[in-house]
Symmetry: C4
Amino acid sequence: MTMNRRELLSIGVLTLLPQIRASAQAQAQPADLVNLNNLISDLVAGNHILATEGIVDGYGHISVRHPGNKNHFLLSRSVAPESVTVADIMEFDLDAVAVDPKGRTSYKERFIHSEIYRVRPDVNAVVHGHAPSLIPFGVTKKPLRPMYHQSAFLAAGVPVFEIRDAAGMTNMLVETAALGRALAKVLADKPVALMRGHGAVVVADTIPNVVGRSIYLDLNARIQAQAIALGGPIAEISPEEARKYAASDNYARAWELWKKKAK
Amino acid sequence: MTMNRRELLSIGVLTLLPQIRASAQAQAQPADLVNLNNLISDLVAGNHILATEGIVDGYGHISVRHPGNKNHFLLSRSVAPESVTVADIMEFDLDAVAVDPKGRTSYKERFIHSEIYRVRPDVNAVVHGHAPSLIPFGVTKKPLRPMYHQSAFLAAGVPVFEIRDAAGMTNMLVETAALGRALAKVLADKPVALMRGHGAVVVADTIPNVVGRSIYLDLNARIQAQAIALGGPIAEISPEEARKYAASDNYARAWELWKKKAK
Amino acid sequence: MTMNRRELLSIGVLTLLPQIRASAQAQAQPADLVNLNNLISDLVAGNHILATEGIVDGYGHISVRHPGNKNHFLLSRSVAPESVTVADIMEFDLDAVAVDPKGRTSYKERFIHSEIYRVRPDVNAVVHGHAPSLIPFGVTKKPLRPMYHQSAFLAAGVPVFEIRDAAGMTNMLVETAALGRALAKVLADKPVALMRGHGAVVVADTIPNVVGRSIYLDLNARIQAQAIALGGPIAEISPEEARKYAASDNYARAWELWKKKAK
Amino acid sequence: MTMNRRELLSIGVLTLLPQIRASAQAQAQPADLVNLNNLISDLVAGNHILATEGIVDGYGHISVRHPGNKNHFLLSRSVAPESVTVADIMEFDLDAVAVDPKGRTSYKERFIHSEIYRVRPDVNAVVHGHAPSLIPFGVTKKPLRPMYHQSAFLAAGVPVFEIRDAAGMTNMLVETAALGRALAKVLADKPVALMRGHGAVVVADTIPNVVGRSIYLDLNARIQAQAIALGGPIAEISPEEARKYAASDNYARAWELWKKKAK
């Protein structure tokens, strides 16, 4: 997928070019535009994959940090992930303000993304969704724990964001910067936080990794629920096993398959 | 989807036009016909969506209150929801008598719809179905409770209709006005009632809302069953959270996706 | 679907015509041939429906009593249900001997069918399969009970066939007349019997009914397992409710849908 | 599917022909080439079937012993099973060294295959995967037991490979010959071993049998979990029943269906 001038305009890139060019530390080069092009293509694919794999339904979203501007990120307009196209991708700053909305409506909960990008320089991709397998672990006291190598990234622990602690009685939605900050604080340096009575947020350094983590997070929840039902102690992936496994996988093989299946 | 004269005739609209025109408070205007056309299109889509999303199988039905006549409602002839077309939509009065059956067979349980419309002026759409996830909550004493924001509408409580209380030993079907009244009484002002050993009825102000509630009711039941299996106390959506959330969603984003997937 | 001469030959009908014609009580008339034609079409559809609905996988079978000869029945050659065509349908007598095999291989377990037809004049259709939902109820002491109206036919009770009681240590397969008789004896006058560590047999008066019962038997098992997991007493469909419901349904509406989906 | 010269080259067969021809006990004959052709076709089909039936996702692999050289085996290059084609099949020796890699990347865990072929002359096909149903039985103390005839091959017992016993803290992957040997030792003479926090390995004498065992192993795990949830003692398939059943099935009927569905 490549973008024509009209599509590049729609995501506010051409508009920004003059000032980028004028900048002494001009970050966007022709090579960067190709980069951006590919990243947006992956972001659209990520939306479709999350829908095809059952991680999101009509709701939920995935974003990526702008490769040419660490203080901006890319996220679809308010539409079901399965329906996202290149023309839906918008650019936001860290206050979750759209750079060039062109009349497009933003997701109310874009503050989940902006506030995590603000405090987590290691994070370049964020997923928010409501996979049914995750809700039970958010509303009970049973912590999510890593059952197998594919979900070894959970070994650091999975905190639960209780929105009542941050803001008392709400409509449950993270639709302000303050709530986004509170969620980012609970997430801290972890890859996943559950949100009580709501869903989860997953972060990673790349789009394939945040998609892969979202998929294996869901699988891990279903596996752990079944392991609990069998009864008795459960042998989890240990922190050291997780650390060693982390170095050996990047979901590259699965990413190609997920893209093919989501087409 | 637009309707030609023949199809409008088949749902008893053209037949009624003369008397509607003659009426001093004539309710049906050309704009109303467009309205009706769109509503019937949504009703057909609602049938297909409920089937595609696994909420109904060969059985179950969805109706909408007639936009031009508060005392009439629209409901398919007796056919599987997945197969419903515009030509199957019939008009009924509040005694569940078909205005112009044209030889089409009515669902036996249309009294579920008529008696709810009679006593619930706030309700414009009704779904009846037998989603497998719901039956366990109808045959045990475990009440359905709202697990997450998407099913916050359950916070008002989910009553269970025990047909034996209304009529002793029956064939389990709500196929008389008296049984419909008894069910409507148990439903009271709630959005959902379970029916012991049978299924559920869901009501809302619009077709997208009754379809959305039916889908998230099913998801909530599956989530709650899993949360119960994990053990320990469960943090439900509180009534105040539910009240605040109610104002912020109408399933609009999901409705477009559901329609696309059901095609 | 209609059959040409070649296909009629393949199921041994044309071969039998001379002796049928010669018979004083000649049972097969032109109208009967149309009848048989339709029944075979339904039998092929029944095979495909059971596969599409997940009741059988590569194994399992469905038969129908021959409409022109109470002592014969029709059953596919040994092939996966999903792949059955008209040319695969064979005719068997009550000793499970093929009338005109034409080199086709028979299912080893055809004795399940023959011995039930022998002792149950009310039965005209038999399904045998291994739906995963049923095995747990066959290997534990938890009896299958009717959870809702659609599975009300279970109210008579679901016996479990323990092949060890009949023949000690076997290969688990009902591949002799003696084992078929033992199974039929345990089934007695019921619509369903489970087979320990193996599967189930379902019987009814028609193909749509035996298919419908097989589908709702599977759903009931999954619903009951979930109801048990919720805990506490379970309100079953009572025998009187089941008796009253039995008169009001024949799966006609669902049968049309199942056929459409299985195509 | 047949292979042309180019494809035969790609799997290193033509390259080997001269030395095979020169050998006094030349094992590969024209008939053997046809054999190999068919076997590779089955190996590709096996990959697709395991993906279609949900036994593997983007990860997991299936191999077959080389029919012309007991000390070699065939396995795809490192790609998702669903995407495997004839050109991806590589030949390995028992040290898991590729005979003619042609730049293709090998699965890191190919040592699972090589070390099992080394010590199990009865084994001609190996599957490694991570079916979610299996992980709970690997991380708890609940042993997998045969619930019904289709999984009777489990009656010999299902050992669990604890990689910590073999090598302490690892990245969980069997990516050395030493780890492969340790796994093969735990597998011993059984058809299945679970791997704690990882997955399973399944072996058999043919590709259809290893695929069939993989599918029914998954079904058995789900059935046993449900049987445990129902409570009370469970009547397993006894060793003698398993022995008798083993003689009567080879998945031939299902294999044809699985191939058709995987296309």
